[in-house]
């Protein structure tokens, strides 16, 4: 059934691409200038790459799900090692209690939960301390230290943990009760160093958060599921990720010199030829920014953090000794830099064509092509995740409004990172929804 849906989507997109190609050719022929001819070829090529990427991810995602269903029938149910869950918290008094409660109710019992207060100025430590003790065979420890940033807090707690496996979750994450049990199964394979879980938006209170809900299932979870087919998930998300402790220690833990410590750690593991998997049914709900400026702040930090992580490993961009690692680095560069810049470039070119030759039908075809991709991707994800179907309608707004604005923030973040303009962590205020 899924293969059939995939074939239908791929055929529809293919036909539409060829159809819009006729319009592209007309515009191409209308220009005498070599620069504009080249620009049109570039945009057509970029469009092809983006669509190819989407179709590949849907295909890999379907294959990975089939592969997973087959392989877990063989899993040994007696594999129940100790897992330490680490919750770094800085000024999280609004959300910390809910987060701890969601961890205590986990179906997996061999658990140690460490609440790592990073020198909060509010009541985080005091609230968390009330939960210290033993609950249903799970131990809760509350540690505190002077404020030093998320990565230092995580390393501090990892060093003091007793579990064979480390699960890192954000303080505002609310986990499904079987998340730990589902993720720990993967570590039976000694080559697996880390497993990412699915992140869903918990506060769908307005259009912006609903657009992010769509982005999380289509742009993040589906992509990770596709990457997991190759065991090369490139970012273990902050809200839910599990690691083999020996692997974290071997690569020196979380680094302090980047704003995307999760991306950096994942890259270090891939560099060591370790495998990174994804469990789509291990779910964490997180609070997404519900105001535009907060969203820009988050995306600005993500982009600069990812670029910092890539920069640290940039010597591997042209060294193909570890092909997987080089491939992941280029893929991340494509997502962080090439895509936003090409998206803006294509928009500017279409505006120029419209002003110089009159409004061209290429505009609607170009937008429709991406919207078909988005709606199909969204529908596929909604069907496999039992998400609200109405979310697929937001796919129409997604390309025109959401991606456009986010890409502008990414472009400015790239420019500022290029010029090494100082930046601060910029914590988002949580509302506890």
């Amino acid at each position: 059934m899924r293969i059939l849906i995939f074939l239908l989507i791929a055929t529809a997109i293919g036909i539409f691409y060829v159809w819009s190609f006729y319009d592209i050719k007309l515009v191409y022929d209308s220009f005498e200038n070599a620069f504009f001819k080249f620009a049109i070829i570039l945009v057509a090529f970029f469009t092809f790459i983006v669509i190819f990427r989407y179709i590949s991810f849907i295909f890999f995602s379907i294959t990975k799900t089939a592969q997973k269903t087959a392989s877990f029938n063989l899993v040994n149910k007696n594999f129940r090692p100790k897992v330490s869950i680490i919750v770094p918290a800085y000024n999280e008094d609004v959300t910390i209690a809910t987060s701890i409660k969601s961890l205590v109710t986990q179906t997996y019992n061999n658990l140690e939960i460490i609440i790592m207060d990073d020198g909060s100025k509010d009541n985080t430590y005091k609230i968390a301390k009330k939960f210290e003790g033993n609950f249903n065979g799970k131990t809760i420890k509350v540690l505190t230290k002077k404020n030093g940033g998320k990565s230092r807090a995580l390393n501090f707690a990892i060093e003091r943990s007793s579990g064979e496996f480390i699960m890192c979750v954000d303080a505002d994450s609310k986990l499904e009760i079987d998340a730990v049990a589902l993720m720990v199964r993967y570590f039976k394979d000694p080559e697996i160093a880390a497993v990412a879980g699915s992140v869903f938006v918990s506060n769908r209170v307005n259009t912006l958060t609903k657009l992010q809900a769509l982005e999380y299932i289509e742009g993040l979870n589906m992509v990770r599921n596709g990457q997991a087919f190759l065991k090369l998930v490139n970012i273990i998300p902050g809200p839910i990720g599990m690691f083999r402790k020996t692997d974290i220690m071997e690569v020196g833990g979380y680094a302090h010199d980047t704003f995307a410590e999760d991306a950096d750690l994942t890259l270090k593991l891939i560099e060591k030829n370790r495998k990174i998997d994804f469990e789509p049914e291990a779910v964490a709900y997180t609070e997404a920014p519900d105001e535009l400026l907060d969203l820009l702040k988050q995306r600005y930090r993500w982009t600069r953090g990812i670029l910092q992580a890539i920069r640290k490993h940039s010597h591997n961009l042209f060294s193909f000794k570890n092909f997987n690692f080089t491939f992941v680095l280029w893929y991340m560069l494509f997502e962080a830099i090439f895509w936003p810049f090409m998206d803006l470039f294509a928009s500017m070119l279409l505006i120029y064509i419209s002003f110089s030759q009159g409004v061209n039908t290429l505009l609607i075809y170009w937008w429709l092509l991406f919207s078909i991709v988005d709606v199909s991707g969204a529908l596929y994800c909604i069907l496999i995740t039992n998400e609200t179907k109405s979310l697929s309608f937001y796919a129409i707004l997604y390309r025109l409004y959401f991606i456009g604005i986010v890409n502008i923030a990414k472009i400015f973040a790239t420019i500022e990172e290029w010029f090494q303009i100082e930046m601060s962590w910029g914590k988002l205020e949580r509302k506890g929804i």
Partner: protein
């Protein structure tokens, strides 16, 4: 004007508005962060004491003016 041309025109308008809005929103965000950072420069007596690590803080006369 036929329907496809009308839709193309609408997409053009939305693209232009989104680009302008995106740029304005980005600069609004930067302005807000700058103002917040200025606000966070204020430090309480207790925080300063903790940072300094001593029991009392001594001020020069020039700081009290």
């Amino acid at each position: 004007m036929n329907f496809i041309a009308f839709l193309s025109f609408s997409v053009l308008v939305i693209i232009i508005l989104t680009l302008v809005f995106g740029i304005v929103a980005y600069f609004l965000y930067k302005m807000r962060e700058r103002q917040r950072r200025k606000g966070s420069d204020i430090i309480t007596y207790e925080e300063l004491k903790e940072e300094d690590g001593r029991k009392y803080l001594f001020f020069d006369e020039v700081h009290l003016r």
